[in-house]
């Protein structure tokens, strides 16, 4: 049976590359996000690259009323449903500290919005097993760092959510994969100082696609971030609290 992918935050560079892999595989794709003009262009692009069908739909993490239509559209396709969450946003730590109210929106984008949608899709995913849920979290969620803990908080929540969801669905033949990207060369990181070992969105998407096929549980993108984060997670708190990064 063919696959249908609901791709949330489909305008992001990594989601685009992922969509193209799904299209080349002949899947149906529903591209969800806020920039309707851009999504329409992406949908046509996906069709020409081999997608069985491609549709653009509005999705705003902060407007839960837009969620039902997406779940309905996904289940209306006669194919195994799959969901990939690329949606998210990053407000710099300095901005969050200057405007604390901004954290609520960021947490909505990275945690509550996507989580609510996944919960809403749960019964349908269970009813039509065999699919996958891919959630893009971040290495920032592994441990709160002084330079980025506003963002890290939401991602940590999403990582925990995905972990629980994976356990919840393990007997229902729906696979849940957590993706933790390090630095990926996208609009979000363009021009930021101090980046190293930056992955291209195409390579990141390939790794995510392959990981989902192989039913991996948690993947770092690129893979060596696993090592970096293992070290960072094990730095004793009394030292870690003195670190500035």
């Amino acid at each position: 049976m063919s696959n249908a992918w609901l791709i949330l935050g489909a305008s992001s560079a990594m989601a685009r590359a992922f969509t193209r892999l799904a299209a080349a595989d002949g899947a149906h794709v529903i591209l969800a996000g806020r920039d309707a003009t851009d999504l329409t262009i992406l949908a046509r692009d996906a069709e020409m690259r081999g997608a069985a069908s491609a549709a653009a739909m509005p999705f705003d993490t902060r407007k839960p009323e837009s969620f039902t239509a997406l779940v309905t559209a996904l289940t209306a396709i006669d194919a195994t449903p799959n969901i990939a969450v690329f949606a998210g946003s990053m407000v710099s730590q300095a901005e969050v500290e200057a405007n604390p109210a901004a954290i609520a929106g960021m947490i909505s984008d990275n945690l509550t919005g996507p989580s609510q949608l996944l919960l809403m899709a749960l019964p349908d995913m269970i009813a039509r097993p065999g699919g996958a849920i891919v959630g893009v979290s971040s290495v920032s969620g592994d441990r709160g760092r002084a330079s980025n803990f506003g963002y890290g908080a939401g991602k940590a929540g999403f990582t925990a959510f995905l972990s629980g969801l994976r356990a919840r669905l393990s007997r229902s033949k729906v696979h849940v994969m957590t993706v933790k990207p390090g630095f990926v060369d996208t609009a979000m990181t363009w021009g930021l100082p101090g980046l190293f070992l930056v992955a291209s969105p195409d390579d990141a998407a390939k790794r995510i696609w392959r990981g989902a096929k192989r039913k991996r549980n948690v993947i770092y993108v690129p893979g060596f971030w696993w090592m970096i984060m293992t070290i960072i997670k094990h730095v004793p708190e009394f030292i870690f609290k003195k670190m500035k990064f």
């Binding site: 305008s11 560079a13 003009t37 851009d38 020409m48 690259r49 609009a187």
Partner: protein, 440 residues
Amino acid sequence: MLYKDTIQSGWGRALRSKARIARPERRTALDELMSTAPAPAFGAARSYGDAALNADGALIDMSRLNRLLRFTPETGCLRAEAGVTLGELLAIFGPQGWMPAAMPGTAHVTLGGAIASDVHGKNHHAHGSFGQHVSSIRLMGADGKLRDISEVEHPELFRATIGGMGQTGVIVAAELRLIRCAGGRVELRKQRLPNLDAFLAAFHDNSADFSVGWIDATAKGTALGRGVLEEGHVIAGNFASPRNPRAVPFNMPGLTLSRPAVKAFNALYYHRASASGRMRKRPIGDMFFPLDGLAHWNRLYGKRGFHQFQCVLPQSTCDVMLPRLLEEIAGSGLASPLSVLKKLGSGRAGYMSFPMAGMTLAADFRANAKAVPLLGKLNRMVAEAGGRVYMAKDSTLDPGLIRAMYPEVDKYRAVLAEVDPTGVFTTDLARRLNLRGTDA
């Protein structure tokens, strides 16, 4: 962030300059950029010199605006955003029986860049230049407005844009006519030829769809112009899935391309090819994009980079001038491993397009103090022979030679004066060659 501050260089890396680069991922981001801070655009930055450079200014990287917009499978008519690469187009449409009509030596070139340089391929004698297969261009002007230009609408602007090195505005999208592609493999015949006369005769009699000659630019005397002629026909067969090529991991030390090393390499390459012309079946990419087989090959020239010289000589003077150019290059001892000789037809689509009916010669030179005077001399010899130097490769041309090489430059300048009076799209190349004609 909107801009990334970086030292930008072309593929040759001999010229470099500091710029602020924006890389929009959506049309709205491009619109915003162009309405607030219009700047010249570039694609893959695979031109060799300074076409994609703007010293202490801003640039727009178009590589992320790379979506396919419309395709008519019956006619092979394709509309796509400027950032899509020609390699991608071949990979997507090849299996459906279509391919871009002109393929330069690397698959990484973008659609926008291919138009701005009016690139040619190994089939130029039969199919003409890239721009001749472009039916319309969506161009964003200095005023931030979009215009659809073609041979019917704004024909002067259209002809100034094709081969126009990005000086008329930002190529956002274009429509092109693909040509039929028989399959994913090629029948490739390689034959070694003992000297230039044999080479020219072989090109003269050649009837292959695709042909290119690799010349040993270190050979002198009776062996002057010896090399290997490659002729190919596209045949049916599956498209090989792309694999990651081997890469040159870092800048190589100076000895890598020292004179004895180059001589030895060239001799080996020459003697490996069969004298009678052996036929082999290869994946299509091996013929189109031989240079992509080694990623980052520009690092072979070390951190100072290299200059590429590519000229075309008209049929009438090439018998006389081609041997003189080769003697000059061989005599200098500065030549690089592989130089390229190719026959060109008359096909060109823009005022500043490179091709003319004749022979084109390309050679690389490590960037050093001796290379620049040699290139200056070669450039003058080309001008004297009524030929032309390729701006997409050039890094040393004297602006005084532009008019002799590009007789339609005044029409081009007239268009530029009208569409971009303040010169917001001026790049390092345009400044160096005084393309706008504003310097006295």
